[in-house]
């Protein structure tokens, strides 16, 4: 019989209490225990970035994090950005610029972009590409993703509540 541990993780503002095996990945916890399947699992070894979430505010690979590491902490997933009928501003920019094709990488892209907008100056497109380099899009739709982020980064000046430059 395997040992289980009770953990409480605040997911998108709601506490999720669950008894889990210590080896359970945060990505599996989010998808199976919290029922939030927006977080996609691609490579499952930290390379592709599809599973990126915010853990206590900082972006993290949920496939390289054990659920027990998030005990007592807070996690934001792509579901925190908006809904299918009420897209958040990052999602709207992605839609406007056709910044997704198959959509598999999109949840991770969106969560990374959210952090980039909060923490980086993003003055040049090169800086945007560098910051996005941990997220792989197999459809290779990078041009459109960079355009979406460019617009979001430039819009920050007009609306400072949507994150500030460093």
């Amino acid at each position: 019989m395997s040992v289980t541990v009770e953990i409480i993780v605040t997911v998108n503002g709601e506490p999720v209490r669950e008894r889990v095996e210590p080896r359970m990945l945060l990505s599996d916890f989010l998808r199976e225990s919290a029922g939030l399947t927006g977080t996609h699992v691609g490579c499952e070894h930290g390379v592709c970035g599809a599973c990126t979430v915010r853990l206590n505010g900082a972006s993290a690979r949920s496939c390289l994090t054990f659920a027990v590491q998030a005990d007592g902490g807070s996690v934001e997933t792509v579901e925190s950005l908006g809904t299918g009928t009420d897209l958040g501003h990052i999602q709207q920019a992605f839609r406007k610029h056709h910044a997704l094709q198959c959509g598999f990488c999109t949840p991770g892209m969106l969560m990374t972009v959210q952090e980039m907008l909060e923490t980086l100056a993003l003055e040049t497109d090169e800086e945007i590409r560098d910051a996005l380099s941990g997220n792989i899009c197999r459809c290779t739709g990078y041009e459109h993703i960079v355009r979406a982020v460019r617009e979001l980064a430039d819009a920050r000046g007009a609306n400072p509540t949507r994150g500030q430059a460093r």
Binding site: V47, A60, E115, T119, D130, L132, G134
Partner: protein, 214 residues
């Protein structure tokens, strides 16, 4: 990167950290994690080799220590036992008058076993140059070849003599060709990076010597 103390004694660490991966890895990555993963794309294993670092491991049988030669067996393969954890890594403070520099050519800043980063570090403690280099080539992931080779050069390199080092540095390199780059190109990069980094390390050493004399 932000530590003033580290910047004084180990500027090469601060310099190398600017090359580390991307946001998520910078947020969550650890020095120990990078060492035990032993990815050919990572900076920390190279720094341990370059700076004569010691990896401290602990398990049911107690503590033990290993240098880079002993710890890193192959890419993604270390001497760490399955019941052991890395609990510390230590570096001797470089001698006064040493210079350090780091450079790297990589297609993207990311963790990826299939990309072929080539990198060079040089530190120059006292009267000889000690270099560690490693290159990783792959296309087959786990078959990537990696080497750490501290190499002693007989006497202090000078600005005019420094080009000799890159040539000797290439001697025992046997990179493979793959879809990302040819072996020839990788050897070329080693020479180019070696020259660049050696020049910077020498400049840094001279700067520090002047600073100490003032």
């Amino acid at each position: 990167m932000r530590s003033a103390e580290l910047g004084r004694s180990f500027p090469v660490i601060a310099e190398a950290m600017a090359h580390v991966a991307h946001l998520s890895i910078r947020n969550r990555g650890t020095i120990g994690g990078s060492l035990v993963h032993a990815d050919p794309s990572a900076e920390w294993p190279l720094l341990v080799a370059l700076l004569d670092g010691t990896v401290v491991m602990e398990g049911p049988d107690g503590r033990r220590e290993a240098g880079a030669d002993e710890f890193f067996i192959a890419p993604l393969f270390t001497d760490l036992g399955e019941d052991e954890l890395v609990v510390a890594v230590s570096f001797p403070v470089p001698q006064a008058g040493s210079g350090q520099a780091f450079d790297e050519v990589a297609r993207r800043r990311a963790i990826s076993p299939s990309f072929p980063p080539v990198r060079w570090c040089v530190s120059r403690p006292g009267s000889f140059a000690r270099c560690a280099w490693r290159w990783a080539v792959s296309g087959t992931g786990l078959r990537a070849r990696t080497r750490w080779r501290p190499r002693l050069v007989g006497s202090a390199p000078t600005r005019t003599r420094s080009p000799a080092l890159p040539i000797s540095a290439r001697e025992d390199l046997e990179p493979e060709s793959d879809v990302h780059a040819s072996a020839e190109y990788r050897l070329h990069l080693v020479s180019v990076l070696a020259r660049r980094v050696l020049g910077r390390a020498l400049g840094h050493a001279l700067e520090r010597a002047r600073g100490a004399g003032a």
